[in-house]
Subunit: 137 residues, 2 copies
DNA sequence: GTTTCAAATGCAATTCAGTTGCATCTGGTT
DNA sequence: AACCAGATGCAACTGAATTGCATTTGAAAC
């Protein structure tokens, strides 16, 4: 059983061709993938709605996490092991390339301390960056 | 001439009722406002397209800045004086309330240093947070 | 291996934010 | 008062994402 199939059974999801291919596609990319990108990769082998539902399900189970691009379009990337259904450990930096619009999940060492005004309760902070990625440079 | 009218003439924009009302509405709020929120406030006194265009124009001129909410919906807030047509100084924290979905622009003292992998060129970093705002608590 | 059924898929239709084209109107300058 | 670039209103459109429903399928039970 390959890694994709393992991830699925591990989270109580049926091991279907679509889901396996979505996951292995993500494994091969170093950036977060959009629905449109996946649809192109499937090239008619799966309905667009099925892909949307596969992405939503994978996110709900904590297998992938969702990032909104600067263009407002959702992208998805495989989570680290620390992610669970209950908590997404997305303590990393999302780098948005201004040229290709791709979003990259990069490691980050330390997070800044943040002081909020009275009455605001913080649950998490996120760091994002924009610029040009290594491929577009 | 009130502050809204002044902001408009200062940036070479016509001083129209819609734009004045959009700006004064934003001045009264302490969170970034969405198109839907504005449309409700106008209650038929302006076309939805006119509001979209007013927001786009104000953003282009550097009078307001745009934030994408976690829900993927655009919101707009008045800029600080440092914003110009050429550069938006949005060096502040965007706090996303998980309950009311409002986005607040909060001051932040210092930004973390970030080391990117080889080949990535940074143009700016942004800090965002989520939790519960003072009103929803 | 066959039965079984909840879950997954495919297709059509719908929603919702945002944009575009074009005719009309108006703020501000001459 | 005349003028006109820019602003507005209306209708139609786009594109991402969701929903309803009939059909199919993975995997567990027999």
């Amino acid at each position: 059983m390959d890694r994709s199939a393992h991830l699925l059974s591990e989270h109580g999801l049926k091991n279907t061709p679509v889901r396996r291919k979505v996951l292995s596609f993500m494994e091969e990319r170093k950036h977060a993938v959009s629905h449109a990108e996946l649809e192109g990769a499937f090239n008619g082998d799966a309905d667009r709605v099925t892909l949307y539902r596969a992405l939503n399900t994978l996110e709900e189970k904590g297998i992938v996490h969702k990032v909104l691009g600067r263009d407002g379009i959702a992208r998805y990337a495989l989570c680290q092991d620390a992610c669970t259904v209950h908590r997404h450990d997305d303590q990393h930096l999302h780098f948005h390339c201004n040229t290709c619009k791709n979003v990259f999940c990069l490691a980050v060492d330390d997070y800044p301390e943040v002081n909020l005004p009275a009455g605001f309760m913080l649950s998490k902070i996120q760091l994002s960056a924009e610029g040009i990625c290594d491929n577009c440079k």
